[in-house]
Symmetry: C2
Subunit: 458 residues, 2 copies
């Protein structure tokens, strides 16, 4: 069992801090020299030569489009369809594990555009992936790498979207999966998916960092494949969301792309794809990639605005947007580079701003989980600050499906979400979107009166 290095193509591993280029990765995916994260890079793309035949931009665009008509499972995947921009996995046909991930819709958001004060607003909905979050695009690639390495076990520390996605792909690839979670803080709804897919779930009598510590020990001692976000294969798979987005926009980049910021792996992946696509002349310019955090889980916001992107101070994170409730994001250095490369901004938003934005996205007929809604909330602030202009085009990356957290929606509409802050400006601000059910007698006149009242208030 080993993490295979690519021998046929040009992808190589490199440490993001010290620049070391190991031939193979250790099972903890850390640099053996300095301990920092590894990433893939493609030396041939940046050697100054003219694009080679296999990276000719128009040939690639045409190939990827034609694969849409193929019945081959790899071609039908929105990740594997773009495999020319991913590291090579040997004997791919034998090892690829796919659930037809990717191929997610790009939605126009007319109502949200009015609210935010921009003319051209779209959402790329990664929550429409098979397990209902963006994690699937990275997981198909990393799980396939595990399968190619002949691993029988894969593992992560996560109570949410990562474990759901990992367990699905492991089951699909006939591998066992292990989920480590802190005891006493189980969100049963979030665990339902990994249980359904047959994961072994261990609640450890420690906190989240304690789980990560045990997990790193475990993969060093036993042949268990690590599927946490430090795994660089996951980042590569997640790049495809940006490639697919550019294809949907006829390879005309928008002015802005806005991404929720939690562990910062997704921001890093999308930024990496943008830079690589420009290198390969697939696009002619870079959109500004901006990252939005919840105010209660804002270590990256503080990293950039207080420490100039030089250091990240871990914190105890607290936000109802659980998918980005992360106090010590693994990929912060990669995200700093993305901001620098694209000229993007980092913003933070409050809980009520998140709830209002989520309801506004819902009113456009598109559901999402709270973490996804930080993008619209952040856009409003970036618009007010002048960073985003009214005539500029904007794409929000929605990362999870509404059904990932129905409780948040219910509490919002019943008025229970901010019950303690009633009367506060922020709570009032979101109120106009609340739609609590009305109890009526079984009487036609009563229903008609409710209809008329709703019509008047709309």
């Amino acid at each position: 069992m080993s993490i295979a290095q690519n021998t046929e193509t040009t992808a190589k591993l490199r440490c993001i801090a010290c620049g070391a280029t190991p031939d193979t990765a250790g099972r903890d995916f850390r640099c053996t020299v300095c301990g920092d994260l590894l990433e893939f890079f493609f030396p041939e793309w940046t050697d100054g030569a003219e694009p080679r035949h296999h990276t000719d931009p128009s040939a690639l665009k045409s190939l990827w489009l034609q694969r849409r008509t193929s019945r081959d499972a790899l071609d039908q995947s929105g990740v594997w369809r773009f495999r020319e921009l991913l590291p090579h996995i040997p004997n791919l046909e034998e090892h690829a594990i796919t659930l037809r991930e990717g191929n997610t819709p790009l939605y126009h958001l007319p109502r949200c555009a009015r609210v935010a004060g921009v003319e051209d607003l779209h959402a790329k909905h990664q929550g429409m992936n098979p397990t209902a979050s963006f994690k699937d695009t990275g997981m198909t690639f990393a799980a396939s790498s595990a399968h190619q390495g002949k691993f029988r076990w894969v593992a992560c520390a996560s109570t949410g979207n990562t474990s759901a996605s990992m367990a699905a792909y492991a089951a699909r690839g006939n591998m066992h999966s292990l989920v480590l979670i802190p005891d006493g803080k189980i969100s049963w709804g979030k665990l339902s998916q990994s249980l359904d897919y047959g994961a072994l779930t261990c609640q450890l009598r420690t906190d989240f960092d304690g789980c990560v510590h045990i997990l790193n020990e475990l993969v060093r001692q036993k042949p268990v494949y690590l599927l946490n976000s430090v795994n660089p294969y996951r980042i590569e798979g997640q790049k495809t969301a940006a490639i697919e987005l550019m294809e949907q926009l006829a390879w005309e980049p928008p002015d802005h792309i806005i991404v929720p910021g939690g562990n910062l792996g997704n921001s890093s992946a999308i930024g990496k794809a943008l830079v690589e696509m420009r290198e390969l002349k697939l696009i002619s310019r870079l959109p500004k990639l901006s990252i939005i955090q919840a105010q209660g889980a804002n270590p990256f916001y503080r990293c950039v605005h207080e420490f100039g992107g030089k250091k990240l101070e871990p914190m105890t994170a607290d936000t109802l947007a659980t998918a980005i409730r992360i106090g010590n994001p693994a990929s912060w250095k990669k995200a700093v580079r993305v901001l620098q490369a694209t000229g993007g901004e980092v913003e933070q938003v409050t809980e009520v701003e998140i709830a209002a934005a989520k309801a506004e996205i819902g009113a456009d007929g598109i559901g999402c989980e709270p973490a996804s809604a930080v993008t619209l909330a952040g856009l409003k602030k970036l618009r007010r600050s002048g960073f985003v202009k009214a005539e500029e085009s904007v794409v929000l990356i929605l990362t999870g499906h509404l059904l990932k957290d129905p409780d948040f929606t219910i509490k919002f509409h019943r008025g229970d979400l901010f019950a303690g802050t009633a009367g506060a400006t922020e709570a009032v601000q979101a109120k106009y979107l609340q739609r609590a059910p009305i109890v009526l007698d079984a009487d036609l006149g009563a229903v008609i009166a409710a209809l008329d009242a709703a019509e008047r208030n709309s």
Copy 2:
């Protein structure tokens, strides 16, 4: 505001009971002569003439395939891509409301195939639609019809998948939506979607039939468009799941298609599509379409096996598979015709059989809601009875996403689902798939021991 009849193409409305062919439908979509359901038919397809150019089978197949490479929103929808087989909606570009529904994956189920004792088993997963159930394929078509008719309000009586889908498409089309539900029986999780999309929800002090009664009164008195399953536009949209399935199978029909049976609209739609595709020579033979009900909600099973398909006796339905907890299915006569046309069977399955089948589907890496799992449970019985043979090919239609009902999954794995029946054969039968979380000290040795134990038991 009116329900437009199609003037440009050949679709006409016909009563399924008395054969009356009204020019337009009333707002309750009932036959004005006898009160039974209406359906669309296409006289040109069955006039004995050779296929016309616009229904030439190979031209259609090629057209539909090429649309996969289009950037047009209608072409990208897995419903509108097949619009040649649907009634014409005037000024479609102006009125079509789409969320890029359809395009759902066809998954191979290797583990379930072994369990069921068949060689070739696939699942068409309609739970991968935007609002996470099969309802979206019908709703895009019916909601567009409402928009074309200039309705400002759409309505249904439903606490589940129908209201979620309706509310999303209404919001998308700038229409208001009304959901009527019985007071006191609210499943908040199921309602989260329609609340998020801004539906007006009225809890009436009556039962479900009372809600339906008020709703029918309402649409007769006010310009409100009825989106319950009696709406024949919904059936037309749902046909596309079968068309897309045949395309995925290179137009080679499987031997069997197995569908969950609740209100029986979906069985009717898929059966209708199969018959029409054979008429148009898109396929050369009909698969057997079989319908599976939960034993506690089996009015159609009894209709067929006790009353020879001649009458349906309504009942009080009781099953944890809430999406098919229906005691008085509206489309039972249509479903009887489908069984007769295709030679399919009707089977019923117990609660434990449903839970075991759901866990087996999950172990293949594919989640679904309990109602979807009746298909695998039913297949096992049809295999034992000899109706399905080992070498025959089978496609299960999964109708809803796992996240539609996470509580069922959690309770199953914690052993709470059949706590009252502990020791019963059926409860034991499902037990081997249960994966309750294990509580451990934060100790590497303990985790490794758990891993080894899981390995031994697998």
